[in-house]
């Protein structure tokens, strides 16, 4: 502010303005306070509480805060079920990320090709995002119910039968196989890909790939057309333009997508509950279902808390650097 401006205010004006400002600042703080307190209690306080419960012997309806150290963590990590859950989460996350990134990018490139009716296609690809995982689970669980194939198939097996593709029929969500099955001496569960997880990946990809497409689309629209045009003028083929310009410039989007989709897949719960309930056996069981089941059905409260903290740590490893990075770049802006 220049000197001329300041002199235009009478001293009393300045004093009044300052008083108003402090009063307003106080009101601003007061307005923010309920939310800050709510988050402090419901997020950080409750996490700390859960963390504390995970170190106790609480098992049963009545609280028992006898301190047992890391015993619950030892118990769950040694259990066949939780080891299976970790395997399943890793498998699910890898397949889910891969299918989403590829499909999302392909869809974005298709929609970005600026054909007529582009908006309709975009809306069709994105609409599953508006639907509950529970609805998705109900619909896809019937599609992936195998029936008595090959003689009496249902769902997708029936479709394959009609198309003459019987060879592709499979047990889908009832498939108990783990491929390639192997068991190192330290593991209590079979390692490999639980086949029943694949239909769940399909359903989850159906739901989320439109979102991935939307992220890539926003990224694509941010790449200046001149850049690609210049490369074309220099004689670059479309593939080279894609490989050398488009793809590298989409890298930040890919990173964001990996983090957002990754944390969703580590938390996956609703879809599993509706599609398979964690079965067959524990072939599609995941930590989210484990926590729910152990805490609220088996009443092993402390073990459930320990598993919940494990989930939180997995998510935090992915998310915290991302939030901090976003906050930093924002300040620089």
């Amino acid at each position: 502010m220049s000197h001329a401006n300041i002199r235009e205010f009478a001293p009393s004006d300045v004093a009044r303005r300052r008083r108003w400002l402090t009063r307003d600042r106080l009101i601003a703080l007061l307005m923010l306070m309920p939310s800050v307190v709510a988050i402090a209690v419901f997020v950080y306080g409750f996490i700390a509480w859960t963390g504390y419960i995970s170190l106790t012997a609480w098992s049963g309806i009545a609280p028992d805060y006898t301190f047992v150290g890391l015993e619950n963590y030892r118990t769950i990590f040694r259990s066949v079920r939780f080891q299976t859950d970790i395997r399943n989460t890793v498998v699910f996350t890898l397949f889910f990320l891969l299918s989403n990134l590829i499909l999302g990018l392909v869809l974005a490139l298709l929609v970005d090709a600026r054909v007529k009716g582009e908006a309709i296609f975009r809306s069709i690809y994105l609409f599953p995002m508006a639907v509950s995982f529970i609805v998705t689970g109900v619909a896809w669980s019937w599609i992936f119910t195998p029936g008595n194939f090959p003689s009496d198939p249902t769902g997708i097996n029936l479709l394959l039968d009609r198309l003459g593709l019987d060879a592709l029929q499979s047990a889908w969500i009832t498939d108990k196989r783990v491929l390639p099955e192997f068991r190192p001496s330290w593991a209590r569960t079979k390692l490999g890909v639980p086949m029943a997880m694949l239909p769940v990946v399909v359903a989850a990809t159906w739901q989320m790939s439109g979102f991935t497409m939307a992220m890539y689309l926003a990224g694509l629209r941010g790449i200046p057309e001149d850049l690609r045009e210049a490369a074309r003028v220099d004689g670059a083929s479309e593939w080279q333009v894609f490989r050398r310009i488009t793809l590298p410039m989409l890298q930040p989007v890919t990173l964001s997508a990996v983090i957002i989709l990754g944390h969703i897949s580590l938390k996956i719960f609703d879809l599993i509950m509706t599609m398979t309930g964690g079965g067959p056996g524990n072939a599609t069981d995941v930590p989210g279902v484990f926590v729910y089941d152990i805490t609220f059905n088996a009443n092993k409260i402390a073990q459930g808390a320990a598993a919940a903290i494990v989930m939180l740590v997995m998510v935090a490893v992915l998310i915290v650097p991302y939030i901090v990075y976003n906050a930093r770049t924002e300040v620089e802006r």
Partner: protein, 280 residues
């Protein structure tokens, strides 16, 4: 300049592009197609071996049955989602306004700390949540669910509004101050009118995510008569006594409100989605 440089960019035949896009569209529409053809079949027509056949006419028996089983839950969800969405909007808007235009020492840190709440697995707060809600007499009630959705909605609503208000020029706020407007005056006359689209984005976001939410509903409402609609649908689909065409009709009923919002206000829905990835 060589002739190759002037050659127009060769594009692949459009027909192939359309063909690929239509195949993908088929994948996305397949489950909805199945829900529709099954729900409109009469009970006599429903058979797993004729699952993909079209219905011979429009029959509404499945919907009637589904509504009998889930109608009250549908009403519960409405009673939950409407107040929760409104409170979320107001709270998020005020937070966003303070964090964008009344910054103080540490306000960015507080904002970042609030954001973390958006990503946590809710499994990590469930046990304390149940105990505290019981202590408050809110466990098992729709009011309890409203409180929970409002609190855990604070991060995303604050984020969207803060980014929205950050794009409002600070000069406008300064001008308001010089004209003698106070905190609420500036909000009412400058920020609020400018942020109507922000309210639409946040309202749609909260409506959709609260309507579709499952875990809190499952844990916090134990009594069947208080259940939100997603929990009711999950129960219906888990029951061996319910015909699958009724489950399909139920799924359509649950999907309908958010799908309508998506069809009519899709643009705002997309903005909320992208804001959720922090890049607002």
């Amino acid at each position: 300049m060589s002739t190759t440089a002037l050659r127009p960019v060769r594009r692949r035949p459009r027909i192939w592009l359309y063909a690929i896009m239509i195949v993908f569209a088929g994948f996305y529409l397949l489950p909805i197609f199945l829900l529709l053809i099954t729900s409109f079949k009469s009970f006599e027509e429903v058979s797993l071996s004729r699952m993909w056949d079209l219905p011979r006419g429009l029959h509404f028996q499945s919907f009637t049955r589904a509504w009998e089983a889930m109608g009250s839950s549908f009403i519960n969800s409405l009673q939950l989602v409407i107040p929760a969405t409104i409170i979320s909007c107001i709270l998020g808007s005020l937070n966003g306004y303070v964090l964008a235009k009344w910054k103080f020492r540490g306000s960015d840190l507080i904002f970042t700390a609030i954001l973390f709440g958006m990503f946590i697995p809710y499994q990590s707060v469930l046990i304390p949540l149940v105990r505290v809600l019981s202590g408050m007499g809110l466990y098992g009630s729709i009011n309890g669910l409203i409180l929970v959705h409002v609190v855990y909605g604070i991060p995303i609503t604050t984020l969207i509004f803060r980014n929205y208000y950050a794009s409002v020029p600070t000069e406008l706020v300064e001008a308001g101050k010089i004209d003698g407007a106070d905190f609420f005056g500036i909000y009412r006359h400058i920020m609020f009118p400018l942020s109507i689209p922000g309210f639409v984005v946040v309202a749609i976001w909260q409506f959709t995510s609260i309507w579709n939410e499952f875990l809190f509903g499952l844990i916090i409402t134990s009594a069947p008569e208080k259940r939100p609609v997603t929990v009711a649908l999950q129960n219906l689909s888990g029951s061996q006594f319910t015909q699958w065409n009724v489950q399909m009709a139920g799924a359509l009923l649950v999907a309908l409100p958010t799908l309508l919002v998506y069809i009519f206000l899709g643009r705002y829905f997309l903005r909320g989605l992208l804001a959720g990835s922090l890049k607002g």
